[in-house]
Amino acid sequence: MTETVFDPSPESIADLVGRAIPGLPDLRPTGATFDDLAIDSLTTAEIAAVVSQAYGIEVSDYDVASLGDLDGLSRLVRERIAAGGDG
C-alpha cells in the first residue's frame, strides 16, 4: 500500500511529511525556511525519503537541504514528476 499522491502542491507535501514524521514542525508558515523551523540534517533525510516514496521520484537529502523551503521542494517535485520519475 504505497502512499501515492499526485498533487505536489506545498500544502500536499506539508500534509504528507507531517503525517509520516512524528514531531515534525508544520512546514507551511509562509516564508519560513527549513532552517527557521530548525529542520536538522536527519530530518531532511526523512523528508527526502518520504517525498521520494510518495511521488515515485528521486529526491536526496541534499536536494531538500539546498532548496531550503517548502515552495522550493514543491517546485523540484513538480519538475521531477514532469521528467518522468523513476516509475
Binding site: 512524528p22 527526502a48 521520494s52
Partner: protein
C-alpha cells in the same frame, strides 16, 4: 532424493539470542565523545547497547546464541551452520567452522556469509533454500557481530550507534501450514553504493601494509545517504516479499526490521501502511547489532508473538544489500535474553 521427498516449506524450529552483559548507556558514551543522551535518543531511539569484554570475539557471541537456539529447538542434529557476520574472528578463515565445532556439531558444513546488516536475511534465505533443495536437512543460522571491534570509539557519528550481540535460528523442512513456516524471500544489492558503509582498509584493495591513514582501518558510514537508501530499499523489498507470499499489508501481525534507527523503521512501516503498534523495537536496549539485530529482536519479543502470527522481516546494509522475508511465528520456548 526425489522431489516428492522434499519439504513443502522451510520451518523455524528454534530461536535464541545473546547479548554480552556489559551495558553501555548514552550517558556513558557522552563521557567519552561530544554527544548527549537526548541527542542519541531523539535521532536514533537507542537508550543503551552492550559491549563485549576485551578479549571476546564474534564466535563467542555466536556460540552462545547458537547454543540457545539449539536448546529452543530441542537439541536436534544440524548439518549446516551459517554465520552471517562482517566482524569475523579473523579475516581468514571463516568463523562458522569454529562455531560449529565449539557447539559440538561434528563435521557439519559451515561457512560465513558477508552481507553486513542484511546478513541474517541473506543467510536465512540460503539456509532455507538448502533445506528445500534437499542439500541439507537442518541448519543453524546465526547473525553475530562484534562491531566494537571495527568502530572508532572516538567517532561520535558511529560509536553511539552500534552494540555487540548475536541471534540464531534453527531451520528444517516441514509443511507450509505449520507454525514457523518461512514464506517468500526477496534479496537485492547495489554495488555502486559500495562506499556508503565500509571499512576502507584491511582488505585486498588497501592491505594492512599500505594503510596510510589509521582511520581507514575503522568502520565508516555516510549516515544521511544510508537513511534514504535504506527506507527505499526496505520498503520496496518488503512489498516484493509480501506479493510473493500472497500476503496483503493487513495480514502482517509484526514488522521486524533491522534495528538500525527507530526513525528509519517507523518511516518504512509508514510507507508500507503498517500500523505503528506492529513495529518491533529492540534497538532501544541493544543499539545496532548489525547481522544479529533481527534474530535478537525475535528472541527478545518471543513472548509477545503467538504461534502462526505473521511476521515481515526486512533489512538493509553495507554492499549495499537488502532483503525481506515472510514467516509465521513457531510454537517454541525461547530463553530470555
Amino acid at each position: 532424493m526425489s522431489s516428492r521427498d522434499r519439504p513443502g516449506a522451510a520451518v523455524l524450529r528454534g530461536v535464541g539470542g545473546y547479548l554480552p552483559p556489559r551495558v553501555v548507556t548514552n550517558d556513558d558514551l557522552a563521557a567519552l565523545v561530544d554527544t548527549s543522551d537526548e541527542w542519541i535518543r531523539t535521532r536514533t531511539g537507542i537508550r543503551e547497547r552492550r559491549f563485549a569484554d576485551q578479549g571476546s570475539a564474534t564466535s563467542d557471541l555466536a556460540v552462545e546464541a547458537g547454543r540457545r537456539a539449539l536448546a529452543s529447538a530441542g537439541e536436534p542434529d544440524v548439518d549446516l551452520v551459517v554465520v552471517a557476520t562482517s566482524t569475523p574472528d579473523r579475516s581468514c578463515p571463516a568463523t562458522a567452522p569454529l562455531v560449529a565445532s565449539r557447539l559440538g556439531l561434528g563435521t557439519a558444513a559451515a561457512f560465513d556469509l558477508a552481507a553486513v546488516c542484511s546478513g541474517f536475511v541473506y543467510a536465512l534465505a540460503q539456509a532455507s533454500a538448502a533445506v528445500l533443495a534437499g542439500l541439507h536437512r537442518r541448519a543453524l543460522v546465526i547473525g553475530a557481530d562484534q562491531f566494537t571491534s571495527i568502530v572508532d570509539p572516538r567517532d561520535r557519528a558511529t560509536s553511539i550507534l552500534f552494540g555487540d550481540g548475536a541471534g540464531a535460528v534453527v531451520v528444517d523442512g516441514g509443511d507450509p501450514d505449520e507454525a514457523g513456516s518461512l514464506g517468500a524471500f526477496h534479496l537485492g544489492s547495489d554495488g555502486s553504493a559500495h562506499d556508503l558503509i565500509t571499512v576502507p582498509a584491511g582488505g585486498s584493495r588497501v592491505p594492512h601494509r599500505e594503510v596510510v591513514d589509521a582511520s581507514d582501518a575503522y568502520f565508516r558510514m555516510d549516515g544521511r545517504a544510508v537513511f534514504g537508501a535504506a527506507v527505499g530499499a526496505m520498503s520496496s523489498s518488503s512489498r516484493r516479499a509480501l506479493a510473493l507470499s500472497g500476503w496483503s499489508v493487513e495480514d502482517v501481525d509484526w514488522f521486524v526490521a533491522h534495528q538500525a534507527n527507530e526513525r528509519i523503521l517507523r518511516l518504512v512501516a509508514h510507507s508500507l501502511g503498517i500500523a505503528s503498534e506492529k513495529v518491533v523495537i529492540h534497538l532501544d536496549r541493544a543499539g545496532n547489532t548489525s547481522a544479529a539485530s533481527i534474530p535478537l529482536a525475535l528472541a527478545a519479543h518471543a513472548r509477545t508473538f503467538a504461534p502462526h502470527e505473521r511476521i515481515l522481516l526486512t533489512a538493509f546494509g553495507g554492499g549495499t544489500t537488502w532483503g525481506a522475508a515472510t514467516a509465521t511465528w513457531p510454537r517454541l520456548v525461547v530463553q530470555d535474553l
